[in-house]
Symmetry: C2
Subunit: 417 residues, 2 copies
């Protein structure tokens, strides 16, 4: 399936779907290359690659995200665009123009954001089911919450068994301020959730390609109904009307949950007894052993876990005192501590958080001052959340390369001179 | 004095200087017009003006701030550009592309941000005076702080005696995230402040026009040395390298102090016994009775006071339940409470804050739900800080129209139908 940019797209992560389209090359693991200007060779050495590995041609930003800052982005494909690791800086909030993009289907036509308040959302599985417009929602209530948005496959590039899909490093993540109506307030207005409903099922308003079973391609995700306490139907991102590329006019935001559950262009919210039959829910985004197919009984990519990574320095540094920066978040809990090591994890030094605390679901930039001697240093960071969960040294191996939180994998080798 | 945009510029607020240049028209009070598209007639009625008042031609953004979002801005002149009142939304942080601009001198040539780390700053009045580069500063330490940046003349448009200068409404203010080195850490490195020094005096690196006494035109501001505890030499704004228009590569940020003290392109920081002799300090930015000239014994525009204003709705609303939005800040203290009235201050309803608390010096968006009946409503907001200071009903009259915090002045008249 080729979108109008001429780039390939992957509809979801299923090999069956992939075979219907000239999808992204598989077996890209350990060959992921930063396509930005200065980073290419540097990242080769970071990933322990032979300098003989060939760099792909840099790709330009597709039209619908031309407004992003090209220098901060790595264009994997028209629908998978990563933030450069070094672009985060001391960032409390990720500016929209450097936020990653991962669309499971091409973004709808821009006419859906021409009259935002007219956008319709159907609510089902409540005692008084009905359709409301975005204009209606704006009158019900409002809240603003800051969350980490992270793709399930962030960190996939570090898996060695070669999972297909986009070879994300650290940049399929950002920290955003969302404004919208709490879903629970809408539900209260609609008479409450019907008895026996276990899931919140959100459907994206993308136009589906013809000739395919909708279930194999539609973006419809179910999350446990307990997420009702935090879920937001958001119309603003970073105090701007939600950009089309990020789900405007309306996006489901489920704080602490992986990106895929934050359904874009949401036009239906249903409280359901079971999970959606859509492939993206039933077999996609499932944690399973290497070599196995996805199935509904495997863990779904819902709640995120504690994670951190260094954002500077990434390749070189000067001898002596250096400030080492990074970001850390707890997923479902606030992050409470970050430690940094410049010797690959032999010895650790506690970092301090930088800037305001944006709440439980946000990330926190961190910084630590370290004296570095000449030579190569493996710099790693390790975060702990308020429940005492600490980032593990190694990843959990799984077929699709999901949910990588290994602190070893996310380290960088910096040459100090 | 005409800059290369062909627009007039006001060098500082002194009538003496103004007479040397075709400065902004005086007697503009109550004739301030929103130059944006839809707002012009609306604001006329807000200000209680006759519809016969003539609107000026809309002005386009000058080249050095062409990257700003024109729809969010009101261009008063090349160096005075206001944020539209309604552009704030539910904004925890003000995006750079809608932040106001107020330059006392034209912005320097863009080559000063070509090699940011090479920028030199001289430190004086410390025990080991010396020059450091921005690159040096970045190794000393780092902190991130969120502050309200507000021009001393914000709200001048509401004064009735006709103070000259830019006729700012509410939009010469924003809330920004700054990252840089705490000044106190630099000073510690330079052996501490010399005994007997009472002020921190910061000098801007603008190129001064020839043929004028530098003291009459240079941007050099002194603040009490107690601000050393909070002051930051900032290189990032909203996690991007400081834009040239906002003082890049390096800006002095004095949390809680009016904008003018946050010296742009800072290239000298001196601890001094007395205040600067520069006109902008000695007689400019002084609170004095109407008709009097500025003098050093009058209060300087240093610490900001508690203030708030409504940002939506501004002109019209529908009968029934409405969410009323605004922003509030405490100046030197955190804001603790905001009340909103839809009957010009007869009865009040407590608003709630929206989104994360970004710290003592930040503003907080607020929202309150109110039932509005058909007819005209005067909507006003009134903030209180943690010390119990409440926004006053009326402004403090003063020659230059500085420091307006009157809740009456900042109200809007909304037609409900």
């Amino acid at each position: 399936m080729i979108n109008n940019e001429g780039n390939t797209m992957s509809i979801n992560d299923s090999p069956a779907i992939a075979s219907q389209s000239p999808a992204e090359p598989v077996q890209m693991s350990r060959r992921r290359l930063l396509l930005g200007s200065a980073g290419a060779m540097a990242s080769v050495s970071l990933l322990g690659l032979s300098p003989l590995a060939k760099a792909a041609e840099p790709k330009t930003l597709p039209d619908y995200v031309r407004w992003k800052n090209a220098n901060d982005m790595i264009v994997h494909s028209a629908n998978t665009i990563e933030t450069q690791r070094g672009a985060v800086g001391s960032g409390v909030v990720t500016a929209s123009d450097k936020l990653y993009v991962r669309n499971n289907l091409p973004a709808p036509d821009a006419n859906i954001v021409a009259d935002r308040d007219a956008w319709k959302i159907t609510f089902e599985g409540v005692n008084s089911p009905q359709s409301l417009t975005l204009g209606d929602l704006k009158k019900i209530g409002v809240e603003t919450v800051t969350t980490v948005l992270q793709c399930s496959g962030n960190g996939r590039a570090y898996y060695e068994h070669g999972p297909g899909g986009t070879q994300w490093g650290t940049g399929a993540a950002g920290c955003l301020i969302w404004t919208g109506v709490p879903l629970r307030e809408v539900v209260a207005k609609l008479g409450g959730v019907k008895p026996g409903m276990n899931y919140i099922t959100s459907t994206g308003g993308e136009t589906l390609p013809e000739g395919l079973d909708p279930n194999t391609i539609m973006v419809e995700r179910s999350v446990p109904v307990k997420a009702l306490d935090q879920a937001l139907l958001a119309w603003d991102m970073n105090d701007e009307p939600m950009p089309l590329a990020h789900g405007g006019p309306l996006r489901m935001v489920v704080p602490g949950y992986f990106g895929v559950n934050n359904v874009k262009y949401v036009d239906r919210v249903a409280f359901t007894e079971g999970q959606s039959d859509a492939k993206i829910q039933a077999s996609g985004y499932r944690i399973r052993p290497i070599g196995e197919k996805g199935a509904p009984d495997q863990p779904s990519m819902w709640e995120m876990s504690v994670k951190s990574w260094v954002t500077a320095p990434l390749t070189t540094a000067s001898q002596g005192k250096n400030l080492i920066y990074g970001v850390a978040f707890g997923g479902m809990n606030a992050v409470s501590k970050v430690e940094v090591s410049a010797d690959g994890g032999e010895t650790w030094k506690k970092a301090r958080f930088l800037g305001p605390d944006m709440g439980r679901y946000a990330w926190r930039p961190f910084v630590v001052s370290m004296d570095l001697s000449a030579g190569d240093h493996r710099i790693v960071s390790r975060a702990t959340d308020t429940d005492g969960n600490t980032q593990p040294p190694t990843r959990t191996e799984n077929e699709r390369g999901y949910g990588n939180t290994s602190w070893k994998d996310h380290g960088v080798t910096v040459t100090v001179s």
